[in-house]
Assembly symmetry: C2
C-alpha cells in the first residue's frame, strides 16, 4: 500500500487519474490531492470518501511514495524536483523532463523495461505519441520503421477541462444564437480546424509536431527514426485520431500488420471496410484501447503502409498510461 | 449571350452555381433550372426574376448552349450524353466522365488549355483535387512533384445540402438534448470523424482517395505521379482542408515555394506562424481563393515539402470552377 499524491487533481487528467485508479483498484493507503491555490479547498469524492484538495507546496510531499503529476511544464519544473528530493517517485505527464537522458519516457506496452533506470522521475509521453506508438511498436519490431508521415486530428480535451468547456460553449452559442469568443484556443474551434497546437519552432513545425519525432526516437530506442507531423485541433471532445504512413526497412503487408496487431497489448483492431468498420473518436472514447484500422499498402511508395488510429486522449493518452507506470513501481 | 441550363439546380452546388454566375455577371439569355421530379415546381429567384424549376428530361436540352451539371454520377451518365446529342456543351461536376480520355478534366488555373479538346463534355474535378492542385501547380512547374501524401479534413457540404443539414441537426440535438439518428452519413458526424468518403476499392483506398491520384495524373499530365491519400469527413460546414507532403524532383525551399505561391492565380498565401496566420476552414469559406500556409521543409525526407491548404468546397471546389470553365466556352 502506497501513499499517493495527485498533483493537478482538479484538472481533466488529474480527475481521470483518480477514476482510473479506482477502476484498476490501485492500492492506496493515503491519498493527497494537490492543486493550484485557485482550486484548493474543493471536495473530491473517491472510493466513497471525501477528500479536500490542498494547495501544492513542497512540504506536502513529505512521506509520499508516488506522485502522479498532471500540471503544466512550468509548474512541474518547480514542484517535481521538490517531490523527488523528499523521496517520492514522480510519474510526470508534462513535457518538462521527457527528453532528459536521465528520465525514462515510458509507454508500458512499448518500453516498460525502461522504468528500471529511473532516478525519481518517469515521464509520461505526449498523448499523440502514446496513441501512435502503442500501435506502431509491434509493426516496428517486425519491419523496422524508418520514416513516419503523420497528420493528427486532435480533440479539445488535449487543452484540458477548459478546452472541453469551450467547444461545448461555442456549440451552444451556435444553436442558441449567442455570441461567444474564444479563450482557451486562439480561434473558434466549433466547426473549425486549427492547424497549430503549442508554439512554433524555428523549423516551421510546432512543439507538438516535433514531440512525435523526439519522443518516438527515445521510446523506440531508434535515434535515426524520422517523423514529419502535422498537428491539427478538431471539434471533437476526447479522442485523437491520426493518419499515419509508415516507411519500413522490411516489407510489411496489410495482412501481416493485421496479424501482428490483432494480438498486440493495448490495441483493438477494427479493420473491416465492407461493414464500415474503422476507428472513430466517438467510439474510442472512455476506454483504454487504441483502435487501428484502414490498414493498406501505400500506393505511392515501396515498403510503405498506411493506417488510421483513434484513442482516448484523456485516458490512454494521459491518465491511464501514468497509472500503468505507477503500478509497475509498486 | 447563351442559353444556359443548370442540371441539379436545387442542390447545394446548383444553387451556388447560380450565385457565382450572378456575382461574375455570366452572360445568359435564357436560363433553365432542372432537377429531379421531387424538386420540380420550386421557385428560385435569380437576378431579380422568378424561375420555376422543371423536371430534367432529354427534351429540356433542345436549344440549350451550355449545361452546368451538378447531379450524381448515375444521373449524369444518363442525362449528360442526351444534352450533348442535342448540341449542348456540358460542364459536369460528377465523377462519371472525369477519367474518359475524350473528356478534358479542367481546373482553369492549372490546365485551361485542355478545354479546347472537348467533344461536348468537360469534367469538373473532385473538390479535394481542385483544392490541392490550384496550390500544387506552380510548385510542380518549378520542382516537378513525384509523390504526394495527403490527409484530408473534409467538410459536410461535400455530401450536399443534406450533409449540411445533418451536422446542424445533430449539433442542435446535442445542445437541446434531443435524439438524432444519422441518415446522410453512416455514423454521427457532430463531434466525430468518419474515415470513409465514398465506397472502398479493392486496394483498401476509397474511391474518394483514389480520385486524388487519378485526377491529378490527368490534370497535370503526369502519368507517373503517385498520390497516397486518406480522406476523412470532419464536423465542419463548407471548407475542406488538406495536410500535404510533396516529394519533388528538384529541391524546393519554403522560401521559394512562398515566392511561387504569393503571385499564383487562385491562391492566397497565409503563412505567418508568428502571428498565428494559417489557413482555416472558418475563414476560407464563402470565397474562391485556396488558402495555403504552414509551408516547411519536411524533416523526414530529402526534397520534400509540407504544407496545409483550405478552400471552400462548394465554391472553388465545385460551383466556381464549373462557372469558370463555362466562361471559357463563351
Amino acid at each position: 500500500m502506497s501513499r499517493v499524491a495527485i498533483l493537478g487533481a482538479t484538472g481533466a487528467v488529474g480527475l481521470e487519474m483518480l477514476k482510473v485508479m479506482e477502476e484498476r483498484k490501485f492500492p492506496v493507503s493515503d491519498l493527497l490531492l494537490l492543486s493550484s491555490p485557485r482550486n484548493a479547498g474543493r471536495a473530491i469524492y473517491w472510493r466513497g470518501m471525501e477528500y479536500r484538495v490542498q494547495e501544492a507546496t513542497p512540504e506536502n510531499f513529505a512521506g509520499v511514495d508516488i506522485v502522479l503529476s498532471a500540471v503544466s511544464s512550468e509548474v512541474a519544473k518547480v514542484l517535481v524536483p521538490q517531490a523527488v528530493a523528499q523521496g517520492a517517485v514522480v510519474v510526470d505527464n508534462s513535457s518538462a523532463f521527457r527528453l532528459d537522458p536521465q528520465v525514462p519516457l515510458v509507454i508500458p506496452e512499448v518500453n516498460l523495461q525502461d522504468v528500471a533506470m529511473h532516478r525519481g522521475i518517469i515521464a509520461n509521453p505526449n498523448c499523440s505519441t502514446i496513441i501512435a506508438l502503442v500501435v506502431i511498436k509491434p509493426l516496428h519490431d517486425y519491419a523496422c520503421v524508418r520514416r513516419m508521415v503523420v497528420s493528427t486530428y486532435q480533440a479539445v480535451s488535449g487543452a484540458g477541462a477548459g478546452g472541453l468547456a469551450e467547444l461545448e460553449e461555442q456549440v451552444r452559442g451556435h444553436v442558441l444564437g449567442q455570441e461567444t469568443s474564444p479563450e482557451v484556443f486562439s480561434y473558434p474551434i466549433a466547426f473549425n480546424l486549427i492547424p497549430q497546437i503549442d508554439a512554433f519552432t524555428p523549423n516551421g513545425y510546432t512543439n507538438e509536431e516535433m514531440k512525435m519525432q523526439n519522443e518516438a526516437q527515445k521510446i523506440l530506442h531508434s535515434p535515426d527514426l524520422r517523423v514529419s507531423c502535422t498537428c491539427v485541433r478538431v471539434p471533437v471532445f476526447r479522442s485523437h485520431c491520426e493518419a499515419i504512413t509508415l516507411e519500413t526497412e522490411r516489407r510489411l503487408s496489410p495482412e501481416k500488420a493485421r496479424e501482428l496487431l490483432a494480438g498486440a497489448p493495448g490495441v483493438q483492431l477494427i479493420d473491416d471496410p465492407a461493414s464500415r468498420g474503422y476507428p472513430m473518436p466517438l467510439y474510442s472514447s472512455h476506454q483504454d484501447l487504441i483502435q487501428v484500422g484502414r490498414i493498406r499498402t501505400d500506393i505511392s511508395a515501396e515498403n510503405s503502409l498506411v493506417l488510421w488510429v483513434a484513442g482516448d486522449q484523456v485516458r490512454k493518452g494521459a491518465a491511464t498510461n501514468a497509472v500503468q507506470i505507477a503500478e509497475r513501481l509498486l
